[in-house]
């Protein structure tokens, strides 16, 4: 096949699959439409009908463009998988921002895209204004996006379009989920959904009942339960309230949400193993060990540091305001039960620094959480110990070092290297992001806190993310949320692919 033909087929294939993903997400807009109809919210209903129609049109166009490529049965390669995962997020961000913009609650289309990307990446930073007067339709949409984004949109597609998708595995890995629950990827995707839906039912019911107990009326209790569950499980952090989770004034509500977001931040492979009866996995797994160690130490340090400053009056306040927020940050959820400015004004640099560190570490791999991921921290840590041991032991011993993650695995150098490289990528972007914040005049602790929240897809804010934030920062934050969620590789592959193509085209033009 000639080079030009192959290129055309590549673009066609990518276009085809993106088109399918777009159609799927467009069809999901029926949920907010129905919600709006139920509550007689006509403007939002039309907003979603318009957005749905536009998405449908674009989706069908993309599929038609790629039709011939698909039919020629070209192979879907790794580069396609990465490109599809990476590009579909961008296309979807723009399309899903339309209802936000039409609602009038965002100051610009950029702000709308920011919120959508924040939802998809389960970050949780918000530029949408006046959350307390948002329509049920739009609230349903926002929280849905974070739930779906948590699973991964590609995973969504894989589950439903099982037969039609070849090269599924490559798209799946492109999205940053590279664990095999089951030998085949479609089965894995299905299991991920199954786990999430089961918890959706249990969690929503629990929060609904508690909601009514604390004084909400049945309908709003249900809606809030659904929204808060979706936000907790996906470690997103959105809430239908300006005050976030403070609205409920309830330690019970907060604690149940906390249990949900802790479980939601765990690796799906772990859930699957436990559901199959392998309960020991929860203590043997390197990620749970890593999370337990780092989160426990962070909580102790935060409690001690803030106790020294006398910020909170007693243990219950310490539990609610310190433990909750530290865990919210560590699992990259982003529910906040103190005001943003209070982090800056009351917690002091030590507290803020602890938050920055746990936000960067993040949750588990192949989960809804962000950050470096406990797996990498664990691997690099064990790798360090391994190196020290090797140094100290005799040169003739050929010891094999292992770690446990669902099954026993060998601690190979390449693995340690790739984990360390990704951690470096996060640290580099973290440095750039913090620099950017300080460039625009924000104090270093605020710039670092906010950027750690962005890069780790956390969602807690120290007050930097507001509509009047410089557009350059908004754009950099959007890109960072995206990079963080897709774990750099897909996006780098995509960039490499695009630049490779551009370079080749330029060379071809110059040759002739």
């Amino acid at each position: 096949m000639s080079k030009l033909k192959r290129k055309t087929y590549s673009i066609g294939l990518i276009s085809y699959y993106i088109g399918y993903i777009v159609l799927l997400v467009a069809s999901l807009m029926i949920i907010p439409i129905i919600t709006s109809i139920l509550f007689l919210e006509w403007n939002p209903m039309l907003d979603f009908i318009i957005s749905g129609a536009i998405s449908l049109i674009i989706g069908v166009l993309l599929i038609m463009i790629g039709m011939s490529a698909k039919e020629s049965k070209s192979n879907v390669q790794w580069k396609h998988g990465f490109a599809i995962a990476a590009l579909s997020w961008i296309v979807l961000t723009v399309l899903c921002a339309i209802p936000y913009r039409l609602s009038g609650h965002t100051f610009s289309f950029l702000d709308a895209c920011f919120d959508v990307m924040s939802g998809f990446t389960t970050t949780g930073l918000v530029l949408t204004q006046d959350l307390d007067h948002l329509s049920n339709g739009l609230n349903m949409w926002r929280h849905m996006l974070t739930f779906i984004g948590g699973q991964g949109m590609v995973v969504l597609v894989l589950t439903l379009l099982a037969k039609q998708i070849g090269g599924a595995y490559k798209m799946y890995v492109g999205e940053g989920k590279d664990i095999e629950l089951v030998p085949n990827v479609k089965g894995t995707a299905r299991h991920i959904w199954e786990i999430s839906i089961v918890y959706l039912i249990i969690g929503t019911m629990a929060l609904w009942i508690i909601g009514m107990l604390i004084g909400l009326n049945p309908i709003s209790a249900f809606l809030h339960a659904l929204y808060i569950f979706e936000s907790s499980w996906s470690t997103g952090g959105f809430a239908p309230n300006t005050q976030n989770i403070m609205y409920y004034h309830s330690v019970l509500y907060e604690t149940v949400a906390m249990a949900i977001f802790i479980l939601g931040s765990l690796n799906f492979g772990l859930h699957y193993a436990i559901w199959q009866g392998k309960r020991k996995e929860i203590v043997k797994n390197i990620e749970t060990q890593s999370f337990f160690a780092t989160s426990f130490v962070a909580c102790i340090l935060a409690l001690a540091g803030l106790a020294k400053l006398n910020v909170y009056p007693d243990a219950i306040a310490g539990f609610r305001r310190i433990i909750f927020n530290v865990l919210s940050a560590h699992t990259t959820t982003g529910f906040g039960n103190i005001y943003a400015r209070q982090f800056a004004l009351e917690w002091g640099d030590f507290g803020i620094l602890i938050m920055v560190i746990v936000m960067l570490i993040g949750g588990s791999a192949c989960s809804t959480a962000g950050g470096f991921k406990g797996l990498r921290v664990g691997i690099v840590f064990k790798g360090l110990i391994m190196d020290v041991k090797k140094l100290l032991s005799s040169e003739r011993s050929m010891k094999v070092y292992k770690y446990h993650h669902i099954k026993d695995r060998i601690l190979e150098d390449t693995l340690i290297k790739s984990s360390a490289i990704i951690i470096c990528c996060y640290l580099v972007t973290f440095t750039i992001g913090t620099l950017l914040g300080t460039f625009y005049g924000y104090p270093i602790s605020s710039a670092a806190f906010e950027y750690a929240s962005v890069a780790g897809n956390v969602g807690l804010t120290i007050g930097v993310t507001i509509p009047s934030m410089p557009a350059a920062m908004k754009i950099f934050y959007i890109i960072s949320m995206y990079l963080g969620r897709l774990e750099f590789l897909s996006v780098f592959a995509l960039i490499g692919y695009i630049f490779g193509g551009v370079r080749k085209t330029c060379i071809n033009i110059l040759k002739h």
Binding site: F39, E41, W42, N43, L46, D47, I49, I50, G52, A53, I54, L56, I57, V60, L61, I63, M64, M67, L102, D132, H133, L134, S135, N136, I214, G215, L216, N217, S220, N241, T242, Q243, M246, Y247, Y248, H249, V251, V311, Y312, P313, D314, I316, A317, G318, F319, R320, R321, N337, I338, Y339, R341, Q342, L345, E346
Partner: protein
């Protein structure tokens, strides 16, 4: 003599801004309250804002949340006071604007360290109302056009499949 009086007056004028302890004479923005949380902790404050969402009854007392445009905060008040509120803010609904006089707590011991206001008095400053939803004609026209286009494309696509 005049010089000394002038100097005294100027000194008083210069030092008075430094000695501001906010008293409950004029309403304070919620954001300002949070910014000065340490100074205002335990003080009587007056805030006003729109009641949003719904009241949450917890026995003799209830919670309401008010939003004054800068931020939103929880008000802990007697159930009888909470019941005075008729309209609550939500989509296409403007809640009653209330004036609350009460004690601000930066980290309320009674409520697990939350920043809240324990109301001593609630007054309804303005009644809330339901906003009649206005649908712009362009939206209706736009949606009709787009739906037709979308349907056309679907038909064309399914024809092509065969």
């Amino acid at each position: 003599m005049h010089k000394y009086i002038k100097a005294l007056i100027i000194m008083l004028l210069l030092t008075s801004p430094l000695s501001v302890t906010v008293k409950a004479e004029s309403a304070i923005d919620i954001n300002e309250l949070i910014e000065n949380a340490k100074e205002l902790d335990g003080q009587e404050v007056e805030i006003q804002g729109e009641v949003i969402g719904e009241s949450m009854n917890r026995g003799d007392y209830s919670w309401i949340n008010i939003n004054d445009g800068t931020n939103a905060i929880g008000i802990w008040l007697k159930k009888s006071d909470a019941d005075k509120v008729v309209h609550y803010g939500k989509y296409e609904n403007i809640g009653d604007k209330v004036k609350i006089t009460g004690t601000f707590y930066r980290a309320c011991k009674e409520h697990g360290g939350e920043s809240d206001v324990h109301s001593s008095s609630l007054k309804i400053a303005e009644d809330g109302y339901q906003v009649k939803e206005q649908i712009p004609v362009t939206k209706i026209v736009g949606s009709v056009i787009l739906i037709s286009l979308a349907l056309l494309m679907l038909v064309y696509y399914s024809k092509n499949l065969k």
